[in-house]
Each structure stands twice: as structure tokens, then as C-alpha cells.
Amino acid sequence: MASHINRNFVVAYVLLVGLPIVGLLAVLKTGRKLNAPISVDGVWRLEADAAKLSTLPCGKALAESKDAALAISQSGTNFTLTLANGPRSDGAGTLAGTSLNASLAPSSEWSAQGNCGAERKMTLVATVDPNATPRSLTGLLSASDCPACTAVEFRAVRQAPARRASQ
């Protein structure tokens, strides 16, 4: 009777513990071939022609801020972004390959300045250079609902991948 119970235990152990561990190894091996979206998480220092930037609606406050940077918080192909060291704003975007598309909504304080307008958004379209160290972005910054406005070229260099609190 005891040996019967022991045999059942061994069979159950092999089936429910041993086999899944083998499966786990297979999953880990398969997963190594998967590609995740390119990392854009972190703080990116913005470089753009201040004179051209100030011609954009909402661009003046951005042009006047020193060390303006984009803070990106990434979750796969989606991300949220804010302006670090610049006027307060919130935005979101998506990533497709190395192409990044985002919109930035200025805060009410920012919107109240100059020719910004309450419903205006800034739009970013950029490409990530995955081979550059540190990683860099190049693209165009434009204002929504302003077909007459010329988009401004910008470059952004990742300062360091974002370090989260408690680190």
C-alpha cells in the first residue's frame, strides 16, 4: 500500500513538476527569438532652433526654457511623455518600428501664453537611431490645427535610461 502511494506520488511529481520545468526551458529558448519594441524610455535632451521654435503656436515657452527635455515612460509600443525642465504638459504616443508618433497637450498655464490656444497640441514625429550611443531621435515638431505653420526640425539625445524611484 505504502509503495503504491509512493509510486503515485512519484508519477504525479514527474507529471506536475518535472514536465513543466522542461516546458519552461523550452519556452525560455523560444522566447529568445522574440523581438520587443525598441527602447525609448528615459529622458531625452531636446535640441532645436529656438528662433524657429518660437514661431510655432505654443512654441515660445518651449524655446525660452533652458535644457528642455522629453521624459518618456514606455510600455511596449505605447508611451506617455512630459516635458522635463519646460512648461508643464502631458502627452502620449505610439511606436512603430523605429518611428515615433506623439502629441503633447500643453497645460492650461502654458496654453494661456501668447498664441497657444486652449485646444492646441504639439505633434512630434521622429525616428529613433538604434545604433547611436547614446540613442538619438530626429524628427519634426509641429502645432496641430495650423496648416500654415512650418514644422520645426529637432534632435533629441537620450541622457540615460530612466531610473525609477528607490534606485
Binding site: L34, S75, T80
Partner: protein, 436 residues
């Protein structure tokens, strides 16, 4: 960044009030207080307060002030992990034979493997190329296979099930789960941090082995002296208690310095403490109240400030969230239940055991925080996993009451031998003595 003391005290006041109110309300509907406190943390974050009143939220929790709040919260979790380690008795598993061995191992492997399978789907959608698939998948496995030992112990105590077969097997299995889960997590953190810091992994591993040997063969003897002193005098002097805390923080500092995390040292320190029941209860009584009533709510609030349910946007993201909850439940509840049933436990009882093992509570939040800090999981995935922790912990009490009604337990307990298991009093994972 300068300390704004007024803002910090205001934050503490709001957090404590919110956690107490939510905890009390959840107690009224038969839930452990910890679920209410986790919920309160989420309400104070961007998911509700930041969404409804962004200006007030920005005033109350400005980003520059969060470092101080986080520091206090982390100290609370360090002490809490020491208490969790203290409540775990490694010899328990020996007493419960095949059922506990198989149940505990299956309750780890099943959710672990299912989580890594799910990782195949989630990695390309919710991660990025700065995280290796192996780290991502192993972290998902560890996070889904954890059991909230303290909540489980509290539920069993409240339902008077601690001495039942189900209770003893559940406690032993959860203890094994916790130790195994933390070992796996240590492995992941080690590799993730070594890759990030460029430090040699072998130096780190060598340091950790040396540290563990020192703890087991050196510090444990010192602690034995403390227990002897307790037996002789019926208590410990303030100096000895302060020395104990000094050892906890020193152990935490060692593991952090070695490239692991503060919490591993604190947990190990608790695990190697003498396990005599009265001594354990004495230590718990000294450190538990301030930790669970003051410091842990700060951790819930900090976790809630990082949880943004707004990131779980659209049907696809909610489908992933649902899948995470489903996989976590099927793996943990189903796996434990199947193993217990195969070792001759009646089906209803086995289902009760699976339900208990599926509770994740604060332990899950602690693990998720580590994963978020070392950037193995993204903000959206973190939010989904927090929801999973809430749902699986929330479902435990009603499901257990349905599967194992009180009269069934009274009958089963009557048949049990009067032998006591000698279990230490459990840590109450933010439910505290007052909440019991």
C-alpha cells in the same frame, strides 16, 4: 531636493486616513484589511485622485516630494520582510508529507510555466528591447507564483482553520512558495542589475554565498543567545531589541551593496531567527504595530502613485489584463488544487487550498515594486499586475467561504487529532492585531 516637512506630514495624514477608512470598509464586507489599504493606495494615485483632481494631486504629491515618502515606505517594507521571514518555519514542511511537498512545488511550477507562456505574448507588446526575454519571463513567473503567506495565515486564523489539514498544508506550502519565490527573484535581480551596472556576476554571487554562510553560521548563533536571554528573563532589554534591528538593517544593507536588494537581507534575517513560538510572538508584538499601521500604508500609497489604470487603455490592453488574472488564477488555484486532490485530499478541500494559495496581497506588491525599480516590467504591465494582485486577494475570502462553509470545518476539526502543530503567530500583513 529639500525636505518640505509640512508636505510630508500632510501626505502621511491623508494616506493614513484613506487607508484606515478603506481598510475598515473592506473589513465590513468580510475582506482582509490589506485589500482595502491596497485599494486606498490606488485611489490616491493617478488612477483616481490624479484623474479627478489633477491640481490637488500635484499639490499633495509633487514628484520632488516622493523620494522622502518612498524612503519611509521602504523602511516599512524592510521591517515587514523581516517579520515575514520570522513567521516562516522551514521545518514545517517535514511534518506534512507528500501532500505539502507536491502541493507547494506544483503551486510554484504551474503558475510559473503558465506565466512564462503568457510572457511569449506580452513581451513584444508590453516590454522593450532593454529587457531580455529571459529576465522578463522569469520575473513574470516569480510574480505569479507568489503567495501572501501573512494574509493566508490571517485568513486561516480568523476562520479557525489553522489546525485543520487544509490549514497546515496551506501554511507549509505558502512558506515554501515564499522562500522559493524570493530565491528566483534574487536570481533575476542579480542578473538584471549586473547587466545594468557592469559589475562581475561572479563577484556578486561569491559575496552573496559568503554573506549567507555568515548569516547561517555566525549571526544565527548570536540570535540563539537572544532567545536564551528571552527564556531566562521573560523578555528582551531595549538594547537587545535595538541590536536586533541593527542586525536587520545591516543585513539589508549587505544585500543591497552586493547588488541584490535591501529586502533579501531583511527576509533572510527573519528566516534564520529562532522559531520558538513564544519568542517569535514576542518579537512580532514589538515590531508589528508601528510597521503595519504607520509604515506599510505609505508603501501602499507609493505603489498606488505608480499604478495608473489609465495606461490600461483599449480592448487589447484590457484583454491582456484579463489574461494575466486568468493565468495567475488557473496556475495557482488550479495547480495547487490538482496537486492536493492527487494526494488524496477531497475535491472541495483541495479547491479551498487552491483558493488560499491564490491570495497574493502585499507580497505581490513588494515583488512588483522590485521589478518596476529594476525596469523589468513597464508601467502599464505594473498596473495590470497590481490589478491582478487586488483581484486574486479579493476573491479569496468569499470563494473560501463558499467552498468551505464553517459547518464543514467544525466537522473536519472534530475528526482531527488534538495534536498541535506549534505554528508561530502569523504576521498580519497590514491587518494588524486590531483588525483581526
Amino acid at each position: 531636493v529639500t525636505l518640505d516637512l509640512f508636505k510630508l506630514v500632510l501626505q502621511l495624514t491623508v494616506i493614513l486616513a484613506a487607508c484606515r477608512v478603506a481598510g475598515t470598509l473592506f473589513r465590513r464586507i468580510g475582506q482582509p484589511r490589506v485589500v482595502g489599504e491596497m485599494f486606498a493606495g490606488i485611489l490616491l494615485g493617478p488612477s483616481l485622485l490624479g484623474w479627478l483632481a489633477p491640481r490637488f494631486s500635484a499639490y499633495l504629491f509633487p514628484p520632488a516630494s516622493l523620494g522622502f515618502l518612498n524612503a519611509l515606505a521602504q523602511i516599512g517594507v524592510v521591517v515587514f520582510m523581516f517579520l515575514v521571514g520570522l513567521g516562516i518555519n522551514p521545518t514545517e514542511l517535514k511534518n506534512h508529507g507528500h501532500a505539502a511537498v507536491l502541493t507547494s512545488h506544483v503551486s510554484i511550477t504551474m503558475p510559473f510555466v503558465l506565466a512564462t507562456l503568457l510572457a511569449l505574448l506580452l513581451y513584444p507588446k508590453l516590454s522593450d528591447d532593454s529587457v531580455a526575454f529571459t529576465s522578463f519571463a522569469l520575473f513574470m513567473g516569480a510574480a505569479m507564483s507568489v503567495t501572501a503567506f501573512p494574509v493566508l495565515a490571517r485568513i486561516l486564523t480568523e476562520r479557525d482553520m489553522l489546525q485543520s489539514r487544509l490549514g497546515t498544508v496551506a501554511i507549509a506550502s505558502a512558506a515554501v512558495d515564499d522562500v522559493t519565490g524570493w530565491c528566483i527573484l534574487a536570481y533575476i535581480v542579480l542578473f538584471a542589475r549586473a547587466a545594468h551596472d557592469g559589475r562581475s556576476i561572479w563577484i556578486t554571487i561569491g559575496g552573496i554565498v559568503l554573506f549567507a554562510l555568515l548569516m547561517v553560521f555566525g549571526v544565527q548563533r548570536l540570535l540563539g543567545g537572544m532567545e536564551a536571554s528571552y527564556r531566562k528573563w521573560g523578555g528582551l532589554s531595549e538594547n537587545r531589541l535595538a541590536f536586533m534591528m541593527l542586525l536587520v538593517f545591516s543585513a539589508a544593507l549587505c544585500t543591497e551593496w552586493l547588488g541584490l536588494h535591501l529586502l533579501f537581507g531583511a527576509f533572510l534575517m527573519g528566516a534564520i531567527m529562532p522559531k520558538e513560538q513564544k519568542f517569535v510572538q514576542y518579537i512580532l508584538d514589538r515590531f508589528e504595530t508601528v510597521t503595519v499601521t504607520l509604515l506599510l500604508p505609505l508603501f501602499f500609497a507609493f505603489a498606488g502613485l505608480r499604478t495608473n489604470i489609465g495606461l490600461v487603455k483599449g480592448p487589447e490592453m484590457w484583454m491582456y489584463c484579463g489574461l494575466i488574472i486568468l493565468v495567475a488564477t488557473v496556475g495557482k488555484l488550479g495547480g495547487s488544487m490538482l496537486a492536493a486532490w492527487l494526494t488524496s485530499m477531497p475535491l472541495r478541500e483541495a479547491a479551498g487550498l487552491g483558493t488560499l494559495m491564490n491570495t497574493r496581497g502585499l507580497m505581490e506588491l513588494v515583488i512588483l515594486t522590485i521589478g518596476f525599480d529594476i525596469k523589468v516590467i513597464s508601467p502599464a504591465l505594473y498596473s495590470m499586475m497590481v490589478l491582478m494582485a487586488l483581484v486574486t486577494t479579493f476573491m479569496t475570502t468569499p470563494l473560501l467561504a463558499w467552498l468551505c462553509p464553517d459547518h464543514v470545518w467544525r466537522l473536519e476539526l472534530g475528526k482531527m487529532s488534538a495534536a498541535k502543530t506549534g505554528l508561530p503567530g502569523p504576521v498580519t500583513e497590514s491587518s494588524g492585531g486590531s483588525a483581526a
